[in-house]
């Protein structure tokens, strides 16, 4: 970059204040740095969450067998190395909380919304850099509180990640419902504040700061999904906040929003007139949209990566946007499918069955469109592409069983069994994680200016892909045999003795799958410092972020922000020499813009 351009940028936008270590790396207001902060915090939380799952998988495969690992890590919660039933429930609870909120919401959406929204729409930064910074630090604070809650005397929250009262409200019902649950609620309240600030920022930025020519129908699908995700977040997260606050009131200030007629440990409590079902409604009003908050950004990343690596336009761009909108709308009116047998009026169950099964339609459209995007492509099998194909595979496998769970009559039977666990892990857990990995492999050069090692990436993908199916495919079958989830051990039910060996198989796959993530961590942290230096546009993509220089700078582009003349999917367009045409390349004379 020439000195002239450099000064030009400074004159234009006044990003010429001196940066200290603190303003550059810690209290940064630059969206690219904030994205990296989100990613690294999310990664650390992810390591904790995955490690917890490996611990309780050991317990499930070899119930009540002493293990030096437990003795060393769980201390008093593992007398003689045998995992205690209370800490088992706590591990399951915190695993769920961390993975859903801290990894797949903040880690995924926080990272890529921050990184890509300004870069792909052609903006200097987020609408409010300050709010963005606060958003990250609140997320950091809530992560710290969640981790601290693991070390509480009476144990961390253990009522399941859904924290249904009264179990979560009464310390006498469960040790973890004391200080552990208080910290959980405080952490989540702060998390929600962080998420709302982030979401508002994303919405405002996408609406107001698009560069010249970047109409809504020229936006890459990534931006569409981040935008809609933020809208869903703003609609539904406050409801969870209200549920959390009301629960805090019930727990600490003697109100009865969710509690009534309780006799526990020899005494009648004063609560009168509340209903736990009300909490379930409030919780799932967020809880269900939450799975779309998790999966939509992954869908956006996958759409972009698939088009770029297939060297083909994404198939059915308009239909993709329409299905994102349809999913977003439907996601807010299906929460009751978690409550078919909660004691809710069965008529409501019928309504929710109807709306729930409708979601299969836009989901099917998306899956078919991805598959068609591959058809007659020129597929570049980069690790990001592999994870994207893996995403579609697990999304289909996991999504199809939703047809069973969303059907109230069938749900009676498999509700809260391992069938559910297998379903949601595949369709939102593994899929979203694949989307996140795909995004990291694809945009690592943009984030760190270096490339990830592709061979390590291939090993990471293939071992993970085999293990993901190895863990969750057999799990459907123990669910269909009626095995309830959240059981510390199944040995008290001889009825399930013939399923013990399945649990061993699942655990072995889980352990391999968990440990192979070390390959990824090594690749990730190693490549930040020692990776091969990246070119400006290593994947030969069309979107605007690849027109920005490799070295990060405030304001993203030296000189003027690029103007946009076309949509982001002109791959292999006839009449061009290259198989990609970046968005900032003007239309040739007589070239028709694909009108969508």
């Amino acid at each position: 970059m020439s000195a002239h351009e450099d000064t030009h940028a400074h004159e234009d936008h006044g990003h010429h204040h001196k940066e200290t270590f603190v303003t550059k790396y810690i209290f940064s207001q630059d969206h690219k740095m904030i994205a990296k902060q989100y990613l690294i915090t999310g990664t650390i939380m992810g390591v904790i969450g995955v490690f917890m799952s490996m611990m309780f998988r050991l317990q499930l495969a070899w119930p009540e067998k002493p293990n030096v690992l437990f003795e060393a890590l769980l201390g008093k919660w593992a007398p003689n190395g045998v995992m205690d039933a209370d800490i088992y429930l706590a591990l399951v609870t915190i695993h769920g909380t961390i993975m859903v909120f801290f990894v797949l919401t903040a880690g995924l959406s926080g990272t890529f919304s921050n990184l890509l929204i300004p870069l792909q729409i052609g903006a200097r930064d987020m609408a409010s850099g300050f709010l963005n910074m606060i958003s990250y630090w609140l997320f950091f604070l809530s992560s710290v509180i969640m981790v601290i809650s693991l070390f509480v005397e009476a144990g961390p929250a253990a009522a399941g990640w859904t924290i249904y009262p009264p179990l979560s409200a009464l310390p006498m019902a469960q040790g973890g419902s004391g200080l552990g649950m208080t910290l959980w609620l405080v952490s989540m309240a702060i998390f929600i504040a962080s998420s709302l600030m982030g979401s508002l920022n994303y919405i405002v930025t996408v609406i107001n700061l698009r560069t010249k020519g970047m109409s809504m129908t020229r936006l890459p699908l990534t931006i569409w999904t981040f935008f809609i995700t933020a809208v869903i977040g703003v609609i539904s997260f406050p409801v969870l906040l209200s549920a959390a606050l009301l629960l805090i009131m019930d727990r600490s200030f003697g109100t009865s929003f969710f509690l009534s007629d309780i006799f526990i440990q020899g005494e009648v409590l004063h609560y009168q007139g509340g209903s736990p079902v009300l909490f379930e409604h409030l919780f799932w009003f967020l809880g269900h949209p939450e799975v779309y908050i998790v999966i939509l950004p992954a869908m956006g990343l996958v759409s972009e990566i698939m088009a770029s690596n297939s060297r083909k336009p994404i198939f059915g761009y308009r239909a993709m946007i329409a299905s994102i909108l349809a999913i977003a709308f439907l996601s807010t009116i299906v929460w009751g499918h978690h409550m078919f047998i909660s004691g809710m009026n069965p008529f409501l169950g019928s309504v929710f069955t109807f709306t729930t099964l409708l979601i299969a339609i836009p989901s099917a459209v998306k899956a078919f469109n991805w598959i068609t995007t591959l058809w007659k492509g020129n597929l570049q099998m980069n690790p990001a592409m592999l994870f994207s194909i893996g995403f579609v595979s697990t999304f289909i496998t996991g999504g199809l069983t939703g047809i069973i769970l969303g059907d109230s009559a069938l749900d009676i039977n498999v509700h809260d069994t391992y069938f559910v666990v297998a379903h949601f892990h595949l369709v939102m857990g593994i899929s979203a994680l694949y989307g996140m990995f795909a995004g990291i492999y694809h945009w690592f050069p943009k984030m760190f200016g270096r490339m990830l090692n592709k061979n390590l990436g291939y090993i990471h993908f293939w071992v993970t892909a085999v293990c993901a199916y190895g863990v969750f495919f057999p799990m459907h079958f123990i669910g269909m045999a009626g095995l309830p989830r959240r059981y510390y051990t199944n040995t008290n039910f001889p009825l399930f003795d013939d399923l013990a060996n399945v649990n061993v198989i699942i655990t072995i796959f889980a352990l391999i799958g968990g440990i192979v993530q070390i390959v990824y961590l090594y690749n990730f942290f190693g490549s930040i410092f020692f990776g091969k230096k990246a070119e400006q546009n290593p994947w030969r993509s069309n979107t605007l972020e690849w027109t920005a220089p490799v070295k990060h700078m405030h304001g993203n582009w030296p000189g003027e922000i690029p103007h946009v003349y076309r949509w982001s999917y002109d791959y292999s367009k006839p009449g061009h020499d290259e198989d990609f045409v970046p968005q900032n390349v003007p239309l040739k004379e007589g070239e028709e813009e694909l009108q969508h």
Partner: protein, 355 residues
């Protein structure tokens, strides 16, 4: 110990993989140091995609062969059970077909169109006809499923009071179940946890002043006469529980502060169920596993496991605290005569109180 050994073995495997990558890297470094996929990568990964497709098919077949005797899809012991099972089988078949086809297309395309230098992808952005087809087909299929599903749901959840169902209260507390029968009048006395009086053994908080309560019978085993509709009224005294009776395809949460309900008609007695070929196979298999386990236990100087005999069970299926995993009650379905004889032996509520 086994777990630890497994972990160590896994770590070694990983170290091996790691070293292999290093070698691979070093071998490649001289030729090319690009981290972008080249034709060789495309080819290898394209073939691996087909391998992975085979893996998905194999794991599906193995799972069905090994664990496919799905008790929740056959052998229902209630009148409405077969309706759910039919719907389940239809849904599973549909899923199986769609899964097989779409996974094939996805992985086959990934293999077939793996990148080669010099090849150009087809510029194919849109096709309204195709998209209409794969919107309309799911709409039709799902409409069918929704109609069938809702029909089944309404049939199951609708309680017909004209059938004169046997009314039984299922009472949940951390961590056990009680059942309360209405007695001669088949009417449950009023109850509230505020009336619990442990000293007088009124453990369910039954209202002594309600005349209907006098002949109520409280038990720790659930006995049901075969062929008679049963209407369960669920209560919980402390936290949420869920009354899960998988063999009868029945489940309903027990919610403190409200009464929930679920009704079904048991159709197969415990004795009959034990005689069915599926069940004898299952029980033989389970006992074989238990004998093997017992040998291990005896070698360690612990007690051997008891022989297993099949019984219907009521399980708790909503996380309720530390001993959630052991909250169960035996269900016995028997003939009307056996049921009457058992009922005669039970103490009625009025006589069970300590005055």
């Amino acid at each position: 110990m086994t777990a630890l050994l497994t972990i160590i073995v896994l770590v070694f495997i990983l170290v091996a993989i790691w070293q292999m990558v290093k070698i691979f890297d070093l071998a490649q470094a001289k030729v090319e140091n690009s981290q972008v996929a080249n034709d060789k990568d495309n080819k290898i990964n394209g073939y691996l995609m087909m391998g992975f497709l085979a893996f998905i098919y194999i794991i599906t077949i193995v799972s069905f062969v090994k664990w496919g005797d799905l008790p929740l899809m056959s052998n229902a012991a209630s009148e409405h059970g077969p309706q759910i099972d039919n719907l389940m089988i239809i849904s599973m078949t549909l899923i199986f077909v769609v899964q097989t086809i779409t996974q094939f297309l996805l992985h086959y395309f990934a293999f077939k169109y793996k990148g080669e230098k010099g090849r150009t992808a087809l510029f194919f952005a849109d096709n309204n006809k195709l998209e209409a087809i794969w919107t309309i087909i799911p709409v039709i299929v799902l409409a069918g499923l929704i109609i069938y599903g809702l029909n089944t749901w309404i049939n199951i959840m609708g309680v017909n009071e004209d059938d004169d169902p046997l009314v039984i209260e299922l009472y949940a507390q951390q961590f056990n179940w009680k059942a309360r029968y209405g007695g001669e009048d088949n009417t449950l006395g009023k109850a509230n946890v505020r009336l619990i009086d442990i000293d007088r053994a009124n453990i369910l908080g039954v209202d002594e002043s309600d005349p209907n309560a006098n002949d109520d019978v409280i038990t720790t085993e659930l006995h049901l006469p075969v062929g008679r509709p049963v209407l369960f009224k669920m209560r919980s005294q402390d936290v949420l529980h869920s009354a899960y009776m998988p063999h009868f395809r029945a489940q309903m949460n027990c919610v403190p502060g409200m009464i929930t309900q679920f009704g079904f008609t048991p159709t197969v007695t415990t004795a009959e169920m034990r005689q069915t070929p599926e069940m004898t196979d299952k029980v033989t298999n389970i006992n074989r596993i238990r004998v093997e386990k017992s040998k291990e236990l005896l070698a360690k100087g612990e007690e051997a496991l008891e022989r297993y005999e099949f019984d219907y069970l009521l399980l708790c299926n909503k996380i309720c605290g530390k001993s959630h995993y052991n909250m169960q009650m035996k269900i016995i379905v028997e003939t009307q005569e056996e049921y009457d004889a058992w009922m005669k032996e039970q103490k009625i509520f009025k006589n069970s109180l300590i005055n």
